[in-house]
Symmetry: C2
Subunit: 350 residues, 2 copies
């Protein structure tokens, strides 16, 4: 176990067992446990539920801190908001907390589709929800949002994928592969049989540096945003922000998520035909890339948005790039909230 993934650090969350999950790549999770945080109440009509999946390395906590609350579109006074931690993130079933024989490097390969099926069970069987007013998530949360919209088109009334794609690009696969290599190349990683996350500190630091290079933007650094955020120098920013963020995480967890991220692809439903897959979407959909995102750039998202019936491209503006998802740019979060309010005001399609 790893102390980082605690109720103290990321809770409160509830662990809910959704049963045995046969995985798309052939493995099996005999007891798939999901860490779930909810806000607000399901109304009697059961039509005010919003699902929020999580991104690479993130947990429900940051979604709550940045996106959910009285001042936001995701207002618990009005909606029943279910934040579900993705499998492998350290709170839901993951290499770091799974019992043998699934522990650590023996954790089976999990795809975005597996997460979405597990979440579907959670919502329908545990919460008795059969339609979602909105699915909204960033990065790998966007991958899950697209997967939800294609896999369960009758259930998703609105979808807001932020800074992510429906089918991962070849470029982005390579970026994620560089993250994987940074970790597994550390001799202390020992094919996943390391003693503790701290043993792989060098690999995790190289991984953090790659996030420094690709996670923000050239404009972010030229504008001295890192200093504005309270760091004295680039070294200080890398050390106290980027390294400090990733250092306590479990390497096998990160690798499980990276493998999943690399292979996000809704066209698995349609024999590789992306247009056919996206054509299935019935949700009102706002596709929201971030202007300065270096690995889920607006142009990659625009190509997909054009294939989604009745959708809108609503790019968010921030020189903070992909990691503006962290909430570093309040203006972008306000812009997102305006978009989400617009989207939630639209009637569901007939």
């Amino acid at each position: 176990m790893n102390d980082y993934y605690s109720q103290e650090g990321h809770g409160p969350f509830e662990i809910i067992d959704v049963g045995a999950l046969d995985l798309e790549d052939g493995g099996r999770l005999p007891r798939c446990t999901l860490a779930v945080a909810t806000h607000g109440r399901l109304n009697p009509a059961r039509d005010n539920a919003i699902l929020v999946p999580t991104w690479y390395s993130g947990t429900s906590k940051i979604m709550e801190q940045v996106y959910i609350g009285p001042g936001h579109a995701l207002d618990p006074e009005r909606y029943f908001i279910v934040v579900v931690n993705q499998i492998g993130n350290g709170l839901s079933l993951s290499p770091s907390n799974a019992p043998a024989p699934l522990a650590g490097p023996d954790f089976p390969r999990v795809r975005i589709g597996d997460d979405v099926r597990a979440q579907h069970r959670l919502l329908t069987e545990h919460f008795g929800i059969d339609r979602l007013a909105l699915v909204v998530g960033g990065s790998m949360g966007a991958q899950q949002t697209f997967e939800w919209s294609v896999r369960y088109p009758e259930m998703v009334e609105r979808a807001a994928p932020i800074a992510g794609t429906a089918r991962n690009t070849e470029h982005d696969f390579q970026y994620a592969e560089s993250l994987v290599e940074a970790v597994v190349s550390d001799p202390a990683f020992r094919d996943g049989h390391y003693g503790s996350a701290g043993a792989v500190a060098e690999g995790l630091a190289r991984h953090a540096r790659l996030w420094t290079v690709m996670g923000w933007s050239t404009d972010f650094f030229r504008a001295d945003r890192h200093r504005t955020l309270g760091f004295e120098s680039m070294d200080d920013f890398v050390s106290r922000f980027m390294n400090a963020y990733f250092a306590p995480m479990d390497p096998n967890n990160l690798l499980a998520m990276a493998w999943k991220w690399q292979r996000g692809d809704v066209s698995r439903h349609t024999g590789g035909d992306l247009a056919a897959a996206l054509g299935r979407i019935r949700a009102r959909c706002f596709v929201m890339p971030i202007s300065h995102d270096m690995f889920f750039p607006p142009a990659d998202c625009a190509v997909e948005q054009a294939l989604i019936p009745g959708s809108e491209l609503r790019p968010l503006s921030s020189i903070d790039g992909h990691l503006a998802l962290f909430g570093t740019d309040p203006e972008m979060i306000a812009e997102l909230d305006r978009n989400l309010r617009d989207l939630l005001a639209l009637p569901a399609r007939a």
Copy 2:
């Protein structure tokens, strides 16, 4: 010695000893040898010389193949073109070819300014040249072009820095640092005391992947440019292009160049005042970033261009990004040639 850095692969070039060079960081090269390739003839007025420095990992060969010839602005019928390999690149004095006690990891730290002083000696003492019709180079060649223009303003009549900066950015430093880490983290690197470059194959492959991610652009891959260039798949492109390119190179050479690249900074002449340094430039200067460059992006270059008296920003358009420098996009090379012809047609400033 490393067979890669041969006359057969990169020649013909001449090895010219410019004497002992005291380095800015305190070391000394007792016999600084430069590998030099020339094209055309110096005219009687000695006013038709063009200097072409080289970039990270590159040699004079690719400059000749892509930029120099009868159809190009750099036409040997008209100009005396001197291509000088940078120190550390494997042809000029480098870790891979230096005698003890400078060999391998004991090679001293060399800065852009050291290269430029060595080149100045070469031009003035060996060739008897005291003015340059043009200095033109890409990436680290642009760094040298800026350094020439600031350090020897009376000698440089025209300058064409392509896809590079006068003072390296904090972001770019981090990208180069990720390249360094990819190599030195390989246990086979052994602090530079590896048996052969082949021993560090894994580190060099990780280094090549980072170039895959940052060297081209997201648009390049979305447009299937890698397949257009003759590769069957992304894996094929990474393997037969990116890995194959870097695999034979000497790791200590790459690290010597990376260290130099990270610290390119003309404001060392002016106590850190970039505006004052760039204000010294008397050359007619066209600053030419590449539209889709991910680490020397146009916006970073535009900030510097605005500080250069009488200069022009002439961005080049190519979705191939930084590595369009390799000549993969003929239209961009044609655009560059047009710009260089315009520049060469301008009278030198009084």
